[in-house]
């Protein structure tokens, strides 16, 4: 037994903030003091509050230290570990109560409304030690399934829980498994889609980094349910920490006989391999993903036949997302009723969202379905920084749409999001404030899909490119009102004629911004003005003569010599020379340079 546990976040966010050096320094100091039998230092997965990384928690006090530096290690050991005095200056402010005592983490605004199911072990266990996963009931669900349940029982339980695919489309997981089970064939496959490509989404990565065994256990359960003995995890090579921890986890599971032949003496065999993706967005599409696993170029193919009938290597296959799998062991252990008691009628359970963009608490949150956008953005996320006004949130990445400020009280579930022109997607939530131009946002996402279109079908390959060019005309101020109508028409054409989900959803950002922010498009086209002041071609920097003191600072810093004027006289910007870099505005001490 250890008197104290120090948990250091080893997620990608905190690691990039040097948390592994902090871990090494802690271990070295603990050894130097001869405390290794009393104090246990562990690296864990993501705590979720990435904005404040590197993060560390010291138990049993539950002291939550944020933005820790390597230099702080000695103070933490000297004060907290040796003398028992908490280093208050490093505490996350939210955890300090008015009387100076420590509040439990779950009472802080960021964690209070969260309900962690898929993320339950992230930030709690060491993902590189199977024993710790087992200590938190790991592999008990697999044991229960193999010894007490028939494959059909498993599928019925999952169906009854109401779990729907967390990758985006929201297909009922139990039904998917049932199809695969019913498909005839002696060889079937279980695949995991860990090719998380949406800009701004990182929950799959965090689960693999923080709790890889949950995914492995769930895949074994799925294999038992449909009658498979081989699984593949398709994970992008850009996630090196996730790949490394998965590799360790699979090795440990094999050593314990939790993967391999005759698991738990039940006669059930299952093994698992990792396949690395080269980072093409289209490989997150199920048919393209399987084509890629087969060793071909990652291109989608038409459905039907669906993978449950004819999937990987032409055999019945199920493909689920990482987060979907992470829910499975919990459903088996706690029961379908427990899971179905969370969320809304048609969307049960919880959903993980990756908060990014103009939001205070950037990070990972897991909330019951039906929580409103307002609760996520204001109560959990802490609102937009610098007192800016919330304008819209993009869900579903390049396949989704934006949710404008007036719909912020919409309860989030699969069907509500589709009804307002967006989609759940994998759970990226990018917040935009008044300084974001919605046309520019649509252009950003479309540029991404133009890049990532695999080129197999014309509608997507050429359609998205033409659509992107039209958007460029809007932001350049050369579009006409007819172009807006043409754009809309082209959007529907692409949606209806593309082969796979990538093309079918690619125009969504354009359609939803056109729907909710048509006035911004019209301001670009009709008034040649960008209301948010983002689109450079439509911007003009000006010097307000009354405010200008003639200090010449702007003229001296202008990289192209566009500013002229004599000392102590108001200066002027030559719009023909100006490249709109904004240096003059940053340099001016009197606020005389304005965007018009």
């Amino acid at each position: 037994m250890f008197r104290s546990h120090i948990l250091v976040c080893g997620g990608t966010g905190c690691t990039s903030g040097n948390s592994m050096k902090i871990y090494d320094a802690l271990v070295a100091r603990i050894q130097k003091e001869g405390l290794e039998n009393e104090v246990h230092v562990t690296k864990t997965g993501c705590f979720g509050l990435c904005a404040l990384g590197p993060i560390m928690i010291v138990y049993p006090e539950g002291a939550f230290y944020s933005q820790v530096k390597v230099e702080d290690v000695d103070e933490i050991i000297d004060e907290h570990i040796i003398k028992g005095r908490i280093v208050t200056r490093l505490l996350y402010k939210e955890t300090v109560a008015d009387d100076g005592s420590i509040k439990a983490l779950n009472d802080t605004n960021f964690y209070k409304k969260q309900h962690r199911v898929a993320l339950r072990n992230c930030g709690v266990i060491n993902p590189e030690k199977i024993d710790e996963y087992i200590a938190y009931d790991g592999y008990e669900a697999l044991g229960k399934v193999l010894t007490e349940m028939s494959p059909q029982d498993v599928i019925d339980e999952i169906s009854r829980s109401g779990l729907r695919g967390r990758g985006g489309a929201g297909f009922p997981t139990g039904r998917k498994w049932q199809f695969a089970k019913n498909s005839p064939g002696n060889k079937k496959y279980v695949c995991c889609n860990a090719d998380e490509g949406d800009p701004g989404a990182f929950m799959d990565r965090s689960i693999l980094e923080g709790d890889p065994h949950a995914v492995i256990e769930a895949m074994a359960i799925a294999a038992y349910a449909i009658g498979s003995d081989q699984g593949y995890i398709y994970v992008r090579a850009e996630y090196p920490i996730a790949v490394q921890r998965l590799t360790i986890a699979i090795k440990q599971a094999r050593e314990y006989g939790l993967l391999g032949k005759n698991i738990f003496g039940s006669g059930f065999n299952f093994d698992l391999d990792i396949r690395l993706g080269a980072g093409a967005f289209v490989c997150g599409e199920e048919t393209a993903l399987m084509t890629s696993i087969e060793g071909h170029r990652g291109e989608p193919r038409p459905r039907p036949p669906f993978p449950a009938v004819k999937g990987l290597f032409g055999k019945p296959t199920i493909l689920n997302n990482v987060e979907t799998y992470a829910n499975i062991p919990q459903i088996i252990l706690k029961g379908a009723d427990w899971f179905a008691s969370m969320g809304t009628e048609k969307s049960r359970g919880t959903k993980v969202f990756a908060l990014g963009g103009k939001i205070h608490n950037t990070g990972l949150v897991e909330i019951p379905m039906g929580t409103t956008m307002r609760e996520i953005i204001y109560d959990i996320g802490g609102g937009c920084p610098n007192g800016k006004k919330f304008k819209a949130a993009q869900t579903g990445g390049p396949s989704g749409g934006c949710i404008p400020a007036h719909l912020i009280d919409t309860p989030i579930d699969y069907d509500n999001l589709i009804a307002i022109g967006s989609m759940m997607g994998s759970g990226g939530l990018i917040v935009m404030d008044e300084d974001n131009c919605m046309v520019d946002i649509a252009k950003f996402f479309l540029e991404f899909t133009v890049d990532e279109s695999c080129g197999k079908c014309t509608a997507c390959r050429i359609g998205t490119k033409r659509l992107y060019e039209m958007l460029c005309k809007v932001t350049d101020g050369t579009a006409t009102m007819e172009d807006l109508d043409k754009m809309e028409e082209l959007c529907y054409y692409i949606k209806e004629n593309s082969l796979c989900g990538l093309g079918q959803t690619a125009p969504n950002p354009v359609l939803s911004t056109l729907h909710y922010f048509r006035d911004e498009y019209e301001a670009h086209v009709r008034d040649k003005r960008c209301p948010a002041g983002v689109c450079k071609k439509l911007l003009r920097y000006q010097i307000v003569a009354d405010k200008c003191k003639g200090c010449t600072l702007c003229a001296r810093n202008c990289p192209v010599g566009a500013i002229s004027g004599t000392v102590k006289e108001p200066h002027v910007i030559d719009p023909n020379k100006c490249i709109k870099c904004g240096v003059c505005m940053d340099k001016c001490k009197f606020g005389a340079v304005i965007k018009a």
């Binding site: 008197r3 003398k83 087992i134 044991g143």
Partner: protein
């Protein structure tokens, strides 16, 4: 690992390692050892080690053991405070053997070891 029993046995064994990895809940017994300079000088560390050792041997999962700063009566160190059922019991002038007795009599069996309490010394 060939059976579910083996998995469960491993889990029980691992549980003692992850004890203390949460904030103590209301029904837990919290034990604090004064570990400021005075406490350490008076021999608090062997006392703490003895407490941890007993807890592990006896598989006590509802006990949280940690250190605290200077309690204020340096001449009575090592001091061990036991928080239980909303009550605080302060044991003073502790030794490893006395600590083991407190674990056995008080924490496990619920009989306060009166002779070590601060009022008796």
């Amino acid at each position: 690992m060939k059976s579910l029993e083996e998995l469960r046995a491993l889990r029980e064994k691992m549980k003692s390692q992850i004890d203390n990895r949460s904030v103590a809940s209301a029904d837990e017994t919290v034990i604090k050892v004064g570990m400021a300079t005075c406490g350490i000088a008076a021999g608090a560390r062997p006392v703490l080690d003895a407490l941890l050792d007993e807890a592990e041997k006896r598989h006590l999962h509802n006990v949280s053991i940690s250190q605290t700063g200077c309690i204020g009566m340096c001449r009575m160190e090592p001091i061990v405070e036991v928080f239980r059922d909303g009550q605080k019991y302060t044991y003073v002038l502790m030794t490893p053997d006395k600590a083991r007795k407190v674990m056995n009599d008080h924490v496990v069996n619920g009989n306060v070891v009166k002779e070590y309490l601060i009022g008796e010394n």
